[in-house]
Symmetry: C2
Subunit: 430 residues, 2 copies
């Protein structure tokens, strides 16, 4: 597992683990099965009404955001504009999710089949919307497969067999590297049940990484209260992780990878501490062990960086400091382009300040290497772009003498020593 990481001043290959693309909603029509065109017209009207309401509530903000960034926002669907924006941000490659427009939702795939897929109740519409986006995404990623890794939409809660067929249709398509499932399973079987096993098997075989992405949460409990949503959305987004991990799916389907996106990384370390201790070292296991026997072959934290990755988007400086605890081999930085929550169009400035005290090895992992491992990306193709537009360690104001401590990972995962849990990996995590 030892990997020699380039500590020279060569440019960083930056892969944004979280970006978005999508057509303006009307434009999905040609990609959509004609049997749902009537429902689609209603959906488009509903989108326009939603935009009108958003403008009513928060018009000043919408106007400012859209007028300041008019050109760059077109990169949500225009490959040439997109490449210019990526270049200016220093981004070589990106993992691309649906829903280009996070402000008024005008680039949502038909019937809300993107980040809001769990809200759809009609399986027919769920799959029709997902497939329309997927067909467009294939074309979009094929315009530059080294830079664009697309994440297709798979509403598995609405039908496992149909989802498996769609995975087979996506396999090997240039630039398609993953699938996104609904964040919540609602009334369907939970993800840890056996119900979806055919789907996990198909993803493991085709090498498509499974994702949940921040968006949905328990909306009925919040009413209009945005703070409750913000406080809970990470939980709802990463919930699928425990379902997959603790039901033993990563052991049952070798090659299966899961990545949780845009819900930060601050929650990882504490939950891994709890999980490792409860199922590896604590006396509490006496009360619980009989029900967990044989499910996992490793400690929960040992799945991170192999089966589990974190698309942590524009990490806070706090999260960058805590990288060893949360997973130096699992965390992937991202811009969230073209959403306003992210670093675009000011990514360069952000990188210049946030990574000053990070070693070059660790920076290379967080900004690109982990994503290359997770998605099996085209390193040569990416390096070609990076050589042209990637920022260098000097450009990020980094001290080239700074090295990752040989015991960094073990030190970060403090619970191994504190609870006397056997440490099996390399101590630096590399």
């Amino acid at each position: 597992m030892a990997q020699q990481i380039n500590t020279s001043n060569d440019p960083y290959i930056i892969v944004s683990s979280d970006s978005h693309a999508g057509l303006q909603c009307e434009e999905y029509r040609p990609y959509l099965d004609s049997s749902v065109h009537k429902e689609f017209d209603e959906y488009v009207n509903e989108r326009h009404e939603n935009r009108r309401l958003t403008e009513e509530i928060n018009g000043e903000y919408v106007e400012e955001w859209e007028s300041t960034n008019a050109e760059g926002l077109r990169g949500a669907y225009d490959p040439e504009v997109r490449d210019k924006e990526l270049d200016a941000d220093g981004i070589s490659g990106e993992i691309i999710f649906a829903d280009g427009d996070a402000v008024t939702g005008m680039e949502s795939p038909p019937f809300g089949a993107g980040l809001a897929a769990g809200q759809i109740t009609d399986p027919r519409l769920a799959f029709a919307g997902a497939k329309a986006h997927n067909r467009w995404l294939e074309e979009f990623c094929a315009t530059s497969p080294a830079r664009r890794a697309g994440v297709a939409l798979l509403p598995i809660t609405h039908g496992v067999d149909e989802a498996v067929k769609e995975v087979e249709a996506l396999a090997g398509k240039p630039g398609i590297k993953g699938v996104m499932i609904p964040t919540l399973w609602h009334e369907a079987s939970p993800y840890g049940s056996d119900h979806y096993d055919k789907f996990w098997a198909a993803c493991a075989e085709t090498g498509l990484v499974v994702h949940t992405h921040s968006g949905e949460a328990d909306f009925p409990s919040y009413g209009e209260n945005i703070a409750m949503y913000v406080s809970e959305v990470a939980f709802w987004t990463h919930r699928a992780l425990w379902q997959l991990l603790f039901s033993g799916k990563f052991d049952k389907f070798p090659g299966l990878k899961y990545c949780v996106v845009e819900c930060g990384s601050w929650w990882v370390g504490d939950l891994l501490w709890k999980a490792d201790v409860n199922f590896g070292a604590s006396w509490k296991i006496k009360k619980m062990s009989s029900r967990m026997k044989g499910l996992l072959t490793k400690l929960p934290s040992e799945y991170f960086g192999e089966s589990v990755f974190i698309g942590a988007s524009t990490m806070s400086r706090y999260e960058i400091r805590e990288r060893d605890r949360n997973g130096i081999d699992a965390l992937m930085w991202g811009t969230d382009y073209p959403h306003p929550e992210g670093s675009w169009p000011n990514t360069a400035e952000r990188l210049e300040t946030d990574f000053q005290n990070v070693s070059i090895e660790d920076t290379r992992r967080l900004l690109g290497l982990n994503a290359i491992t997770c998605y099996n990306l085209d390193t040569d193709g990416l390096r070609e772009v990076a050589d042209r537009i990637g920022p260098t360690p000097e450009g990020l104001n980094q001290n080239s003498e700074l090295r990752t401590s040989p015991t960094a990972k073990r030190d970060g995962r403090w619970w191994f020593d504190e609870y006397g849990i056997e440490w099996k990996g390399s101590e630096s995590g590399h």
Copy 2:
């Protein structure tokens, strides 16, 4: 707010913020309205069947736990035994929840009206079971009101008016200091809605502290998988906090206090960082602010230690180290007596190791002072007990020279300086 804390070697007044008591299930019969006796007999049979199953699955553990601790476990309902156990553990006072038996559930209030109250579907049974326990708890706490602060059961999801009447019946009863509501609201209105306002008002007026306590979670999603439950139960337990805080209940009902119990404290700091930043300092607020205007009068973290407290039970050493971040004025240590997850009957040993590097001031806060503030306890009565049985700083192997840094609290809540949020409290939090 400045409070002079005794840094001498005087014994600690330890108040366990989390302990349990209850009759063996059959014994609740005399406290129960006769109209539900028939259903009660069925319930008792079901409890015995549940015990039989638990023994089948995990018999060795049950046998070992119960035989080793036979005498002390009787303290769940026998005041004399209980006092002896508290004395031996060095505990002066305690906050008492239902469900004495966490291993086979034989001391659950009628119909599961304790920690599993949310699972009851019939309002009649929910209130009958709760009131039976409450009437017994009043007697139990009256045997030593300075030491025993009881938390009564209030199934508010089954009826606000009936809950308000029960609060009025509990007001002023010696030793009754709080009420516990169901952890989950299930199909009822969420706690942040206006639906329960009469109840919050009644609690604020009577000074009864509102609690949620670890126990319930989203069981249908876990099947038999205990690890999923363990990984999520904290979320489900503290979820009510955001409902109350962000809906402005603490501003609307001055005097209302909420305490979340036995779900640790490790999650507090990160969520407060997020909440303070999102609703106090970040540019993100531009996208959200219009929907949060006027709801809160303070930053989320500023409600901790005044309106919000954390019954963090037997904190890990990690959580003790992180006390300033998570709330040096809100955290309350506890034994969880007589549950096996806690420190009993080895509390003395636990305290001797875990607080070695903590200042005497901070130790006094975590072990007792914060609970005295939260529940308005009888300090003189407690001191009398502590003088007899409380461990001293020397007994906890503490260095009497160790002082709390004057900027400890501000340093712990690192996000104030890092995000440029105005700091309004005293820097030590005292």
